[in-house]
Amino acid sequence: MTAVSAPAAPDRTAAAARPGAAGERARGVARATTTRGAWWLASLGLLLVVLLASVLVGSKHLGVGTAFTALFDPHAGGPALVVRDLRLPRTVLGLVTGVALGVAGALIQALTRNPLADPGILGVGTGSSLFVVVAVAFFGATQVTGYVWWAMAGAAVVTLVVLVVGSAGRGGGTPARLTLTGVGIGAVLGGVSTGITFLDPRAFDSMRSWVAGSVSGRPLSVTGEVLPFVVVGLGCAALVSRELNVIALGDDLANALGGRVVRARVLVIAAVTLLVGAATAASGPIGFVGLMVPHVARWLVGPDQRWILAFCLTLSPSLLIAADVVGRVVLHPAEVPAGIVTAFVGAPILIALARRTKASGL
């Protein structure tokens, strides 16, 4: 285990792991505040375009006019129903889930100073899923209202366990060990989930569409159920965003500079729990959104966590909704769940990150 769990020299690890340090640009493409603002507006525009595409594109071809009538006239029937009952709910859910996953990814990368961290890779999504499977199989939960708290509890327990186990020992955990711990714990919890679904074919059937991670087929009320959790989670993230900039310098330096490290940790874990739990309860485990988007944001605006979080708000729902739209058309007439599309886009990026000289020095 030595080579993997005890990487090279600590200083090199810290340098490579710190978001935005050494290997990446010290500052992003956009440096001045006005340029960053312009970029953010551009990303907002991108989000609007993707939202529009999500309403317009699908297996049934509808004109722009029909789509707009459907959106603004509550009495329109016929093809407008497709838009109102199918495309609108999944677009809204994609928006909420995307925001939640992207912000959670940015937070967990900042807290662990680990460029490879992602709620999915660290097992948080898997833990959330396990608790949902338990709720469905043993406690008869069928609706999101029934298992949203379970999803939340699972996310909380796994986040805590992974962070505690991954940073056991003197000097805290290295990014490498944290990742390995998350993967190991995720494998164990996934195994338990699989076992339970085998015992209960009914659970297996209702779970197999859910485990792929998809935003389709959920009524608008589902989004309503999880929205409060996402809002509170985003509030925690907003409270902690300044502190994360200091934490990027390392715990000791952060303490010395007056950063409240413990408070920041508690808030980040609360936020990640709320965001990932809510996203998982509504859409199932969707991976890699939280991994990719913070990297893009960092490349654009540099290491300032406040800007990174702001870009995650616009870019990650764009990514998720775009993945959903692609999933609708790529194998027409079959639909590919959004979670599968994000895995196909995200995994190569993970590999590319691991191949990069700096990240591989982790």
């Binding site: 993967v183 494998a187 164990v188 195994g191 074919p201 059937d205 792929a212 979670g339 190569p348 191949r355």
Partner: protein, 351 residues
Amino acid sequence: MSAPAAAPAVARTHVVRLPGFSTRVHPRTVLVCGILAAVVVVLFLVSLATGDYRLTLGQVTSALTGHADGLVRTVVLDWRLPRATLALLFGAALGLGGAVFQSLTRNPLGSPDIIGFDSGAYTGALVVMLWWHGGVGQQTTAAVVGGLATACAVYLLAYRRGVQGFRLIIVGIGVSAMLGAFNTWLILTSRLQDAMGAAAFGAGSLNEVGYGQLWAALAVLGVLVPAVLALGRRMRLLEMGDDAARQLGVPAEPTRLLLVAVGVGLTATVTAIAGPIAFVALVAPQVARRLVASPGTTLVGSALTGAVLLQSADWTAQHLVPTTPLPVGVVTVVLGGSYFVWLLVKEGIRS
């Protein structure tokens, strides 16, 4: 990988010298292997004796020696023997395969599960199973091809002036995630009945095995296991590095190629018949190394430990829930994953 540094102190060695022949004997290795072999036999008998229809040890032995008849004979020889034997054999094969890979990569994470072999084999088998409704033979071939292709892809993607442990595992995770997404989609678009069968195979299961699979496995493993054991000495020398090994008369590249072929063959046989049984190949050599207190990988110890692990996991999977037998892979992933996490914690505390 500095395996020797992490290993416990080297065991005491005795040298046996006879006219024209001499060999080193590690008393602890012999003792541990003896105990493990005894445990293997006990577990084998227990798995033959327990189940819905309970048998005494006497009944089992009489059935095995051909003196029983009627129901006892049917239960032991026709129903339970293939599965019990396959659990033993596959455990040993996975242990050996894992030991070979870990020795070659000089890395405890260089096991077939990590380098994506398992998920690739699953994808291969699934495609044949769900799209072409192919038979067992085609399924097996597809599993081997898929596994090999994936392992090569992961190795090449992780290659950058040599393969480094952490990069290998991350690339493995990435490729496995992609294949996993693809597999989920395949299962999603199939009928529930097919999907459950496919998922059971995907978890790694011995629930459906019979004599057909047993003979096939025996034929392949009968060639591969002696081959690995014969390569064992060269493998240990290769662990010291190519230059040192060449100096000591071991042709480095041909040996490595042979070892890769044999290691892949061992794992592929298991995966093709029972599905990807996770973590045994990763854990068995590590446990064996700690038990016999040896500085490197031990082949016999790994094989025996693997057999013990898979036998007990399979027994647990069969009897944990009385009404529904679980796929054995579910048990190994939980046990093996826990061990993996514990190992990380322990290494963390020590460093």
